[in-house]
Amino acid sequence: MWRFIAYRLLQSIPVLVVVITATFFLVRAAPGGPFASEKAVIPEVKAALEAQYGLNLPLWRQYTAYLRDLAQGDLGPSFKYPGRSVNELIAAGFPVTAELGLYALLVALGIGATAGIIAALRPNTAQDYVPMSAAMIGICMPSFLLGPLLILVFGIYLDWLPVSGWGDMPGDKILPSITLGSAYAAYIARLSRAGMLEVMSQDYIRTARAKGLPEWQVVLRHALRGGMIPVVAFLGPALAGLLSGSFVVETIFQIPGLGRFYVQAAFNRDYTMILGSTVFLSVLIVLFNLMSDILAAWMNPRLRAQYSEH
């Protein structure tokens, strides 16, 4: 297993290099530059700005300079937030985004997996239809609708919870976590129902029942591991997505997270910010996809045997 992990981490180096290189040239290929939108900038000032950030150098020089800084963990200065480095901006936004993402994941797993398993135990009965219909409403309820709706009901009419902010008032973390988590909960509910149904018709479940195990033990000890495989495969990218922030939820609830930076950076052509976020996001993706693969291997003994072979 350790060899497998080391092997995968080694593989992630070329992945990161390709991502960084592709993004570096992609953002510079997009028309417009970081200082193109400021109308009042006189040519001399613009030239000075570009010189200051090294944008007047040939492209390959810019690229090698960026890689050199990156190797030392320096993501460079932000073009749009003068005087602040990309490292600072990410360090400021990430704890907020990570906390929100974690709560949202708990909401998603708690509600989603429970609903999916309950539904799969008695397919095509009310016990299946009720939680699955709720999940479907969760899926078609985009966060730009669910967010305002929750604010309206719990923030304004009932006046139970604050409508915006993060960590300023007690309870202001509840609504954004539910908003962000519910979409994922719906996915997880559907995937775990499908996975459980797949497993429940397998021979080893029949064997477990034939041994005379009570049904809850059959489900928890035998079916759950196999049934959650699709959920785990989904969880890797989902977690990376959660931790890179959500533009919509952060905007609705006025949360100072990473998601807003990322979208704004794309529109502003804030080259270093885009690159920095991308590097950060790709590290997260590599790590979480690895974790989800390890979890899948742990849950599936056949796969585990295959990994320990090499």
Binding site: V19, L191, I274
Partner: protein, 295 residues
Amino acid sequence: MSDQAIVSITAAEQGTSLWHDAWRRLRRNRLAVCGLIVLICFIVIALLTPWIAPYDYTQQNLELGATPPSAAHWLGTDIFGRDLLTLMMYGGRVSLAVGFIATAVALLIGVTWGAIAGYAGPRVDAVMMRVVDILYALPFMIFIVLLMVVFGRNMLLLFLAIGAVEWLTMARIMRAQVQSLRQQEFVEAAVSLGLSPAAIIRRHLIPNALGPIIVYTTLTIPSVMLLEAFLSFLGLGVQPPQTSWGLLISYGAETMEEYPWLLLFPGLALTLTLFSLNFLGDGLRDALDVRGARD
């Protein structure tokens, strides 16, 4: 006479094929059939919209403004005095097209990619899945902006771009599924019978992995529709006066206190599509599940 007898025997043999059986079971699932009918109705309406829409969707009537449903405007009008039913019919064209085309692209690439990665052994798997990791990490927004600038605002291109992103998770799920199947006895049996890997993937692995794939497909269609709404909202997707259900919902959400019907009806259309898709998807899943079949 003898010719006829042979023909009828082959017909009976064909009757046991996976898809034929599945169709037979599907027809007995009332909810799935309802879902199928609703979807077909929506698609037919979307195709016929230019001829049957009650009003012109570009025509504004600012004096009229937003009005609740009435005899002249069945679903009311939006803040520009445009007929909501007309907007929803045209919006449905965009939403359904993006939903189905992008998802078809995602399905095609994702299932093939995931099945090969899952079956081909560790080395090929490592390379293929690292490609997926790379594509996950690339900044999607920049990619879309670039495409729009290079190729202009081309709707079909937007659909393809969305599909090209959505296939990644599909590939991961398919791969996980294939990996858990490939060690099973029936695959070993197929290998020892000398079937080629391509045939094993096509005939044995994909049909057995269909359950989660179908479910994920029915999840991808709405999420693609919402992604289109998000991109349009940022000015990267369809542009006014063109519209889509997702865009109508996002505008409706802004004015839901004053003009709730602007949110309610587009939301209902999306929800109804989704419920139909899900019932159809579940029906398909059950119909294709040979082990769970009781007949």
